[in-house]
Structure formats: C-alpha cells, structure tokens
C-alpha cells in the first residue's frame, strides 16, 4: 500500500467518487430489499393477495419467533447444518483425494472416466429409495445424499484443475529432476488453489441441494423437514420461514469460503 498522503488531488477525488459509488450501491441493495418486503407486506395487509397462500414478512417473522419460543428453532437449524457440513466436508476431502489419485494414474483415469460421466449425469434423487434401504431413515441417509450430490462435482472440478497445470512449468520442474510426487506437491497442488476455492463455492450450493433433497425423502427434523411438513399441513408461513433461514445459512457458508479465499489467495494475482 502506498502512503495516502502522496496521492494527487485527482486521485483523492477518484477515491472519493469510488467510495461514494460503493456506498450508493449498498444503499440501493438494502433499499430494494426493504421495498420488496414492504410491497409483500402491504399486499397481504390490504388484501391484494391471500396471505394464506403467499404469507407475508410479518407472519414469517412471527412463525420463526414462535419456533424460537418453542425451543425447536435451533434444533432444526442444528440438524440440517450438521448434515450439510458433514456431507460437504466428506465430499470435499474424499473428492479431492480421488481427483489426486486420478491425476496420478492415467490408466485409472481412462478406466473410470465413463463411470464418472454417467454418475454425473444421473439425477441423484433417483437413488432415494436405495439410500433409505441402505442407510435407514436417519441423518445418515441425508449425509449420504449430500455426499452423493457433491462428490462428483468436486472430483471433476479438481481433476480438471490438476490436469490444466501449465505444461511448461512441468517441463521446467522435470528438468530440475523432480519426480511425480514433487510435481504434485510443488506445482500441481499450489497452482490449483484458486480452482479449489471456486470448487468450494460451487460445492456450498450443491451441499444444500443434497441435504434438503435428503430431508425431503426421509427426515424427522431439520429445515427441509419443516418445509415438507409445512407444505403438507398447508402452513405456508412455516415453508417460507424455513426457506428464509436456509437462504441466510447458505449465504453465511458462502461468505466463509470468500473469507478463506481472502486468507489463502493473497499473493497470487498475476
């Protein structure tokens, strides 16, 4: 960073204008949210729409509030969060390990390629009944579903990153006498860091798809359960409330990855 005192007048002006612009954007974002919520609330209050079908912000808040006083709010959040995070971490860990293995062995990669393609194309929900039979109707089934949804994406994303490693840099390291292991640790893994982060971002979304899908099929608790249950008993406040909580959780998880990115990818702007 340069000393700010050294900047010229024009640069100060430029910085001020930039800052003003970014504050404006923030205000507009929040304003838009308030506007949408306002219209929603108003249309329910004035009877333009049927709050029984479309719910309303105040009813959603009330529902979440009552879940909280019943003491079940954090229980449901905890269940879903635990399932999602478990599935997410297992998928990232094993998926990346599998991608490393496939990078290492060309033969293995060629053999498994069609399997990966088919598994990727398969809608995982089709495996629902099988998962219930194999894993029972508890959290295990849901974690399994989450892993299933995520792991192929992780493998394909990371394998692609590993394979795309700069050929010239490989040549250079090999001319220095590097073996395959050194290629991996000195070059392939560090140069795939950016792809690893982007893979995490994609996988965050996938893991929520997996866990909620799992909870739709089998569950006795969790946000997905609340959504299904609310739908069955026609309590759309509950459906909307759970969905809102889901949105915030997914957003928080995404920003954790962004934070990680800021920590890890400091010096690699090229």
């Amino acid at each position: 960073m340069k000393n700010t005192e050294n900047f010229s007048q024009e640069h100060h002006k430029f910085l001020r204008a930039r800052k003003r612009k970014s504050i404006l954007i923030q205000c507009l974002r929040i304003g838009l949210l308030i506007l949408l919520l306002g219209i929603w609330e108003l249309s329910a209050a004035c009877g333009w729409s049927d709050p029984f079908l479309t719910s309303s912000p105040s009813r959603i808040a009330k529902t979440i509030g009552s879940l909280y006083t019943e003491g079940t709010l954090f229980y449901h959040i905890g269940v879903t969060l635990a399932e999602t995070l478990t599935g997410f971490f297992i998928a990232v860990l094993f998926g990346t390990a599998a991608a490393l293995l496939l990078w290492w062995s060309d033969t293995l990669r060629s053999v498994l390629e069609p399997y990966i393609v088919v598994l990727n194309a398969l809608p995982k929900i089709a495996l629902g009944p099988l998962i219930i039979i194999w894993c029972g109707t508890g959290s295990k089934a849901i974690v399994f579903m989450t892993i299933l949804v995520c792991i192929i994406v992780v493998i394909m994303h990371m394998l692609n990153a590993f394979i795309m490693t700069d050929q010239n840099k490989i040549l250079l390291l090999r001319s220095m006498g590097a073996g395959k292991l050194q290629l991996l640790t000195r070059l392939v893994i560090p140069s795939s860091l950016a792809s690893f982060i982007s893979m995490l971002k994609v996988t965050v979304g996938m893991s929520w798809i997996g866990s909620i899908m799992g909870e739709y099929i089998v569950s006795k608790a969790g946000l997905g359960y609340l959504i299904v249950y609310g739908g069955q008993v026609f309590r759309l406040d509950l459906v909307m409330g759970a969905t809102c909580i889901l949105c915030s959780l997914a957003a928080i998880m995404y920003f954790c990855v962004v934070l990680l990115e800021k920590l890890l990818v400091k010096n690699t702007q090229t």
């Binding site: 700069d166 010239n168 840099k169 040549l171 250079l172 390291l173 090999r174 001319s175 220095m176 006498g177 590097a178 050194q182 000195r186 070059l187 560090p190 140069s191 860091l193 010096n267 690699t268 702007q269 090229t270």
Partner: protein, 244 residues
C-alpha cells in the same frame, strides 16, 4: 577443450494416434565446455525437441545423446511460480534436488543481489517487470550451478528495448560465470550478437544444415558486436541459409 554435450546421429519421432511426426532426423553435433552455441531453424523444425533430448526429458528414437554434466533449462516465458517469492523461486532447483548446504543458498542469494534483484527478494513475481522476471529466471537456472544451460528462446517474449538489455545482461552473466550454453532462437541478430558458434537447422525433420564459428576478434559484448562490420555479413549469410 572437451566436449560436454554430444548428439550422435539422433532421430526423434513423436507418435500420436493419427500420425507419426519425425522431429529430428540423423542430427549430429557437439558442444565444447565453455562454448556458447546458438541453434537457429525454421519455426516448428524441432528445436525445442532438441533441448528436451539434451535435458534427458526425452529418449532418442535412434542414435544417442551424451551429456557429461548437469543441465539447467530456461524457457521462453520466465515460468516463475506466482505463489512463491522471488527468493523462493530462485531456490527452486535446490529445493527440488534436496540440497541442504547453506553455502549454495548463500551463493544463489548473493548472485541475485549482484545482478540487481536484491531489493526484490521478498517480492512476488507479479510485482516485477518482464525483464527483471527473466533475469530472476536465469538466476534460478544458475542456482544449482548447472554445467550446461539450455535456453529455449528465452528473450522472445520481451519487447525490443527490454530484450536488448536483458540479452546484454544474460550474456555478461553467462560469460562471467564461464557457462556452457545452448541457445535456441528465431532471431538471427540475437544469434550473431551472442554465440561463439551457430548451427542452422533444416525444416522438419531437423538436421544440421550449416555450422559456423562466429569470429568477432574476441569481442563478446552483444551491443559492440552489433556495431561491428562483420555483423551484417553474418546476418546476410544466416538469412539466406535459413530461407533456403
């Protein structure tokens, strides 16, 4: 002087699914210790293949390649690792070869300081200009003290001004360190300003078409050579041979 690198009737064929591509055919030459040899040839004739063979990264399809020393490879782009500092980049060959001796690291570091990278040791490659990055790449190549330097168009990615300067620097560094070098290039004037000897290759599959000793009355400085009267004579000769 003794020969440090010999190509003896070397052929190399790339096998692909569709085709076999004969890159080198019956290529013979040798490089003596301390000599600066340039190889020029039409684009795609097999020059990079020749270097890969010299570095032992490829095995000849026929004939034999003999190199009695260690090699250092320098490529067209600097290929510095963006996630390592310049200092760590320079130590890379030492890390790869598991060299632990402190003096060797000290020497690499001292070389960086000597050739003007001292204040950038803690910087990352993106903070350096193209010319400085290429200089860093050379110092990295020299870190493990290779006997033969293999240079694959190391200046061609630089703009003209930087290129003249870096060529000058590199020539000075290599002469000072008394290194043997095999330089590959497209650039005729670069060849004439740098080399002791030139090999002109034919189009693919490459063979040695002509070889010349470049006599400049002992002048090795590239810019001085460019000003000498023999320069344009050599340019014409090599130009004709390259386009024959």
């Amino acid at each position: 002087m003794n020969e440090i690198l010999t190509f003896d009737h070397v052929s190399y064929i790339y096998h692909t699914k569709r085709d076999e591509i004969e890159a080198l055919n019956d290529l013979s030459f040798s490089v003596r210790e301390g000599e600066f040899v340039a190889v020029i040839g039409p684009s795609g004739c097999g020059k990079s293949t020749l270097l890969s063979l010299a570095a032992g990264l490829l095995t000849p399809s026929a004939g034999s390649v003999n190199c009695s020393g260690s090699v250092g490879y320098m490529l067209q782009r600097d290929e510095l690792f963006p996630w390592l500092t310049i200092e760590k980049n320079i130590y890379l060959p030492l890390t790869i070869k598991h060299i632990k001796t402190k003096e060797i690291y000290e020497r690499a570091r001292a070389r960086a300081v000597k050739y003007g990278l001292g204040e950038f040791l803690a910087s990352y490659p993106f903070q350096l200009s193209g010319g400085m990055r290429q200089r860093a790449a050379l110092i990295r190549t020299l870190a493990s003290d290779p006997d033969v330097l293999l240079l694959d168009e190391p200046f061609s990615a630089l703009d003209y001004q930087t290129r003249l300067n870096v060529t000058e620097d590199v020539a000075a560094i290599l002469r000072k360190e008394k290194k043997t070098a095999l330089l590959i290039t497209h650039d005729i004037s670069e060849t004439i300003s740098l080399a002791d000897r030139v090999l002109v290759l034919t189009a693919r599959p490459a063979r040695v078409a002509h070889a010349h000793e470049l006599m400049f009355d002992g002048v090795v400085n590239p810019l001085k050579r460019r000003e000498m009267s023999a320069f344009s004579g050599w340019f014409e000769i090599l130009w004709k041979e390259l386009n024959a």
